[in-house]
Every structure is written in structure tokens, then in C-alpha cells.
């Protein structure tokens, strides 16, 4: 289970996150939405410990990032938006390297082979990462995320650049991870995918959480009818935030 409490982040004088709190339960998929610059990637990077929190706390399965960083990271997998794998390793060496980093070498051959087949990279396993296309590198990053036994998986725009078969495989794997009790947090602009895949949605805007809930709860929050799509809700809620900011009135 992932718990984020009062996440606040300043970059020098710019506030990127303002008191953001949420949780992702075991066996739950949560979508993190927001316009560009809303703070989605900052949130994910703060959870992974890449950037430091100005204030707030991150907890995974009862371990605090501040106190038990290694334990938190052992349970965490992260797929960045534009992955930059080590280009002078072969595909299989890269996966082995990640497995070594997470101390999960037992059953490596069987697991890596299965994942390589699922993402159509088996034939390229002995090729240098340098020779892979952008989409293939994205697939490699996804394989690396699934090669160790992560309990919480963070995805930053995971479907961009992946072919339809790869996208289907990824969605299936995310659902399998959910069924295995993993907590999954997906940052995305692909609202239709989020609508179909996620149990709950969190919407950020200018570093603040402006809405959170299931689709039905967001519909109610946005005062929209039942046939409204997530896109309608997203646009209404983010526009609402802008209006209240410009008028200075909360909720308008």
C-alpha cells in the first residue's frame, strides 16, 4: 500500500507541490491526471526518492521513505516518461543488471524470457540497447519494472510510443499486478485509458490536488450527468480550478 501525506515541494522559490495527500491500496489502480506542469512527474519522483520533499511523508507497506529508504525502494518499481536505458548494455544484460540491483536473481532466466516474449523483445535480447527504437526502450523499461517483485508500481505516461500489441500487453500486466495485490499509480494524459483501467482518479493542477475519487464521485463533483466521460469531467474540474484561482473564490 502506498500512502502519501502532505507532499509539499519547492524548487528554490517555485512551489511544485502543495500539501498533496492520497493513498493507493493493495490491488488498486489509481490514475494521476492533470494538465502540463501540474506536478505529476514531481509527485512520482518524490515517491521514488529521486527528489527530496520539502515537507510530507511517503510510506510503502508501512515503511517510511525518510527512515527506511532501502526497504521502500525494494518494494517499488518506476517507469519514467522517456526512459534512458544504459545504451552500452545488451537488452538481457540491462534486465539482469536491474535484477541484480534489486537482489532478485532467483528464477531470473524464466522470468526474463517470459517478459521478453510478451513484449516482443526476445529476438533482440542480445542486441545493444543503443540499437533499439524509442518504443522498444519504453518496453525495456517496463520489463525492468516487472523483473523484480515490486509491490508498488509507478508509471509515468507508460503507453506513449508503444505499439498496440505492446500497449495491450502492458494493460494486461497492470491488471495482473492489481490482481496480485500490487498498488499501481499511473500518471497519464490518455484519459480514455485511465477511464477503463483505473479504480480511482486523482486530478492535480498547479501542484494542488483538486479532485479525487471514482468516476461516479468525480461526475458528482463536476455536477455532470452519468453519460459524461472522464474527459468532460477533467476539463470541467480543471477549468473550475482556473476560474476559482482567477476570481479568488474557492470552488468557482
Amino acid at each position: 500500500m502506498l500512502i502519501v501525506r502532505n507532499l509539499t515541494k519547492y524548487y528554490r522559490t517555485v512551489q511544485a507541490l502543495d500539501n498533496v495527500s492520497f493513498s493507493v491500496a493493495d490491488g488498486e489502480i489509481v490514475g494521476l491526471l492533470g494538465p502540463n506542469g501540474a506536478g505529476k512527474t514531481t509527485t512520482l519522483r518524490a515517491i521514488t526518492g529521486i527528489i527530496k520533499l520539502t515537507e510530507g511523508e511517503v510510506e510503502i507497506d508501512g515503511f517510511s521513505l525518510a527512515k527506511d529508504e532501502q526497504e521502500v525502494k525494494r518494494r517499488l518499481a518506476y517507469v519514467p516518461e522517456v526512459p534512458n536505458p544504459f545504451e552500452m548494455l545488451t537488452v538481457i544484460e540491462h534486465i539482469r543488471f536491474i535484477a541484480m540491483a534489486y537482489n532478485t536473481m532467483s528464477g531470473f532466466d524464466e522470468r526474463s524470457e517470459r517478459l521478453l516474449h510478451r513484449f516482443d523483445l526476445y529476438e533482440r535480447r542480445n542486441d545493444l540497447v543503443l540499437t533499439l527504437s524509442k518504443g522498444m526502450k519504453q518496453k525495456l523499461a517496463i520489463i525492468c519494472a516487472f523483473i523484480h517483485d515490486a509491490r508498488t508500481i509507478l508509471f509515468d505516461e507508460p503507453l506513449i510510443g508503444i505499439d498496440p500489441k505492446g500497449a495491450r500487453e502492458l494493460k494486461d500486466m497492470i491488471i495482473e499486478a492489481k490482481e496480485n495485490g500490487c498498488s499501481v499509480l499511473i500518471s497519464t494524459h490518455m484519459l480514455d485509458t485511465a477511464e477503463r483501467l483505473c479504480d480511482r482518479i486523482i486530478i492535480l493542477r498547479s501542484g494542488q490536488k483538486i479532485a479525487e475519487g471514482t468516476l461516479a464521485e468525480l461526475q458528482e463533483r463536476a455536477r455532470l450527468t452519468q453519460d459524461a466521460t472522464l474527459e468532460d469531467m477533467f476539463l470541467t474540474l480543471t477549468a473550475e480550478g482556473s476560474a476559482s484561482e482567477s476570481t479568488g473564490l474557492p470552488g468557482l
Binding site: 527528489i51 532501502q70 525502494k73 534512458n84 548494455l89 543488471f97 540491483a101 523499461a141
Partner: protein
Amino acid sequence: MKVLVYLAYRQSINTIKYITRSPKRLIPAILFAGIILNAVITHLFLLPNERLSKTPEEVISIPPDIMWTAAFLILSLLVVWAIRSAFAEGLLVFSASYVDFLFPSCVPRRSILLMKLLGDYAKVFFIIGVATYLMIPMMIRPLVFIPNNMLWYIWIPVSLLLITATNVSHTLNLIASTGIQRFAVANQVVKTVILLVLATILTFAGYYYLRTGDLGASLISAMQSAPVKIILIPITWTTDLMMAAVNNEFAPWMKLQLFWLLLLSVGTTVILFLRRENFYEPSLLKSERMARVKAAKAAGDIGAIRIEMMRGKTKQSASRSPLPPFGRGATAILWKMLVIKLRVGGWRIILPFVLIAAASVAAEKFIKIPEILWYAPFVIPYFVWVYLNSTPQLMRGELMQIEIIKCIPDKGLRIVLMIVLNQWINIAFLVIGTAVCMAILMPSINYRLLWILSLACITCSLPSIAVGSIFGILYPGTKDKSDRLMATYLTLPAIWIPIIPTLIITGLATVIGISIFWTAFWLVITNIALTWTALVIAGIVFRNTDPQEG
């Protein structure tokens, strides 16, 4: 730690395999290794390890205190730059792969830091070693001779000083990055310390000036005053050791200086290593920027590199166009390039001329042999030749925007011409600026030679750029670094083709004494004809080459 060793080992092995499996990559690598090996053998083994026939005092007469002060000043600036940089962006730069795959992993931060520091220190020793054992002897051997066995008194102290400065920078950056308030305070403290040192130097200089009335001597005396030397004691030790190598006089007490420098570098490394702050974030901004620059460089994308240089500039400077639009069709490319040049140029345009002016003054003042000054204009063709070797790279950079350039409804020849013209403007600017600096600041120079060489360089660089550009278009390889080397190695001999007629004309002009007017006339006519021919070929190649194929 084991996983990081595995990473380094596999990357090294794969890099060797990657290079050796393709002749296209292997040949440039062998050529490059050959050039380095040749330099090593020549300078360390073949050339006599003794002074040339003329003693340094007969060739150049820089007083020892000026040499000491110059070395001290350069080292001081280097140290200040290293420390100040920590407050701009941070200096712990990692590759984007580290950020994406190692920072979020459970590999301990200290293991990552240790590997990083070991790698960085090895690089410092390697770079300073190459500079000390190859570049310095190659550049100054005719003027100042340093025996091979004394060179390590430059290599080791300078490396240790830079490691200490880098450690201090990293540590300050880490401490300061834990809070806005703390950052501001630390930044202020560093600024104040630097200003205090500067104020101390100026105070002493003022005191000496009042006593002697000689500004230059006062500044030197101030830099050599005991308080300044004590405040900047590591730099003083390093300078003393460097001068010991230059003068071939090593005093036994200098071993103690070397020991203190070693202690400082080890001590600061330990302090840095014991810091508990998370270094990932301070390194992030610079790491990501470096990753973008690296990707752009690997692709030869000059445009992207320029964009990175633009980052951090004020919005105001980017919003105003420094040049009104002109021309139509392919001419727009030239306008675009000039706008970018002016926008990102700033001090980069001025600095080379400041350095050339300083070098001219120093040469005039310190070089004793008139022949050296008489033939000084030959540095201009040397500058131009160095620049011409980068021609294919600049062309490749423009080809990165092929989606725009190739769609322009104009002839291939005109498009290539505009790219060539942009580079030619750079060379012409460099040549004119250098010639003017030398003409004004070096009265002992051969003025006739200066003007003829300047004219020859300006005119013959145009066809040379056009020829070099052909190889830039032929080897655009945006995905393959070896294309860049192939283009460079083919350009090296090819640019001599249009240079030969110019050499003949200028040779005749100098020997027979043809007037400047007729020399200029024949140079212009010949080089226009050569440029036209090269551009026609380049235009055809441009229309038939797919830069994305590489």
C-alpha cells in the same frame, strides 16, 4: 557495489566490441589512437629530453614573478569557477540512465556516489595528465622546456587541487540544497568570501601603487603578498610546484606542499562522502541538461546544443529579434542562423578577441626573437584550418532540421550556399578581428604578410567550407557517431584541394611582390569559381541524400 562494477565492466566490454565489429567505427578509432600514440612517442621518447639550441631566456623573457602570478591567477580563476558553479546548477552530474534506473533503485546512494567520485577523479587525473604530458610540451616546448621527469610536479598538484575544489563544490551544494533559506545563506557566504579575497588583493595593490606608481607591478606584488598567499594557500602550493617544474628546481620542502595537497584532497573526499544529504536532486537539473546536450552532440545537432545554451537566459533577451528579417526562400536559413548566433553569442563572440588581444600584447612584450613576431600572421591560417575541420559537423547540425530545410521551395544549391555562407561569416569575422588586433597591438609584425594571409584565408575558406559540407551531407549519420569521424577524416585532406590555388597565388604574391590589388583580384576570381563548383556538387548531393538513413 557489485551491481555497479558489473555495469561498468559490461559497458566497457560492449563498447570495445561495438567499435571493433564495424570497419566504419574501427578505422576512425585506429586513426585517432594513432594520432595520440604518435604524439606520445614523439614528445616523450623521440624528441631529446633537453633544451633546444636556444635557451628559453634567448627566446622569451617572461620574468619569473610574472609567470608565477599568471599561473596563480589561472589556478585561482579555475577554483573560483568550480566553487561558484556549485551554486548555479550543481556539479554532481550523472547520466540520464542513472537518473531513470539507479536513483529509484535500492542500490545505496553512497555506493553510487563512491563509483561516481572514483570515475570523476580518474577523469581529472587523465585530463590533467594528457594536458601536462602532451599539450603543454607541444605548445610551449619551443619557448619553455620542462624535462619529462619534472612534468609530474604539474600533473599531480593541479589534479589534487582540482579534486579538492570539486569536493568543496559538491559539499557546499549538498549542504545548501536542503532548504531555500540555507541555500541563500550559503550562496551569500561564498560570494562574500570571494569578494573579501578580491578586496584584500585590491587593497594591497592600492597600497603598493601609492608607493611605486606602477599599476602592473602593484597588482603582481599584491598577488604575491603574504596574506593573499596564505588565504589561497592550496593555490600557492600548486603554483610553487608548477614553477619548480618550469624552473627545474625542486626544493626538498616542496614535498611537504605536495603532502598537504594530498591531505586536503583526501580530507575533502572523506567529508563529502560522509554527508548524509540526498544528492539526487541537486544533480538532477544538470544531469538532465547534460543528457540533452550529450544526445544533441552525439547526433551532431548544433541547433539543440544552442537551445541548451539559451536555457536560463532571460525571457526579454529571447523575445526581441536581434536582426530584422531579410531575403526570401533559402535566404531565410541564413537569417535564422544569424539570429541564433547573435542571440546566444554574447560574450562568446567577444571573448576570443579579448584573448587574441591579450596574447598579442604578451607576445610583443615578452618574445625577444624578431623572426617569431615577423611570422606571427601565420596563426591566422592556423585558426582558419582548425575551424574548417568542424565544417561537416556544422552542416550535420543543420541537417537535423531536415524536415524544415528540405521542404523549402528553393534550389539545393542555394540552400547549401546559405549554410556555407553562415560559416564563412564566422571565419571572416574571426580573421578580420584577429588581423585588426595584431595590426594594432603588434607593431613588430610583418604587415604585408598579415594582409595577404588574411585576404587569402577569407577568400579560400569559402570553397573549403563548401567542400567540407559535401562530406557533412554524405555522412549525416544522426544515429551513428562513426559518421561524424568519417566526415571529419575525409574533410581533412579534401579541404586542401581549394586551398592549393590560393597557396600558389599568395606564394607568388609574396615572393614576386604582386600588388595587394591584383592578389585580391586573382584570389577572389579563383575562389568564386571553386566555390561554385563545390556548391553545384553539394547541391546535387543534398537533394539525393537522406540524412535520416545514418
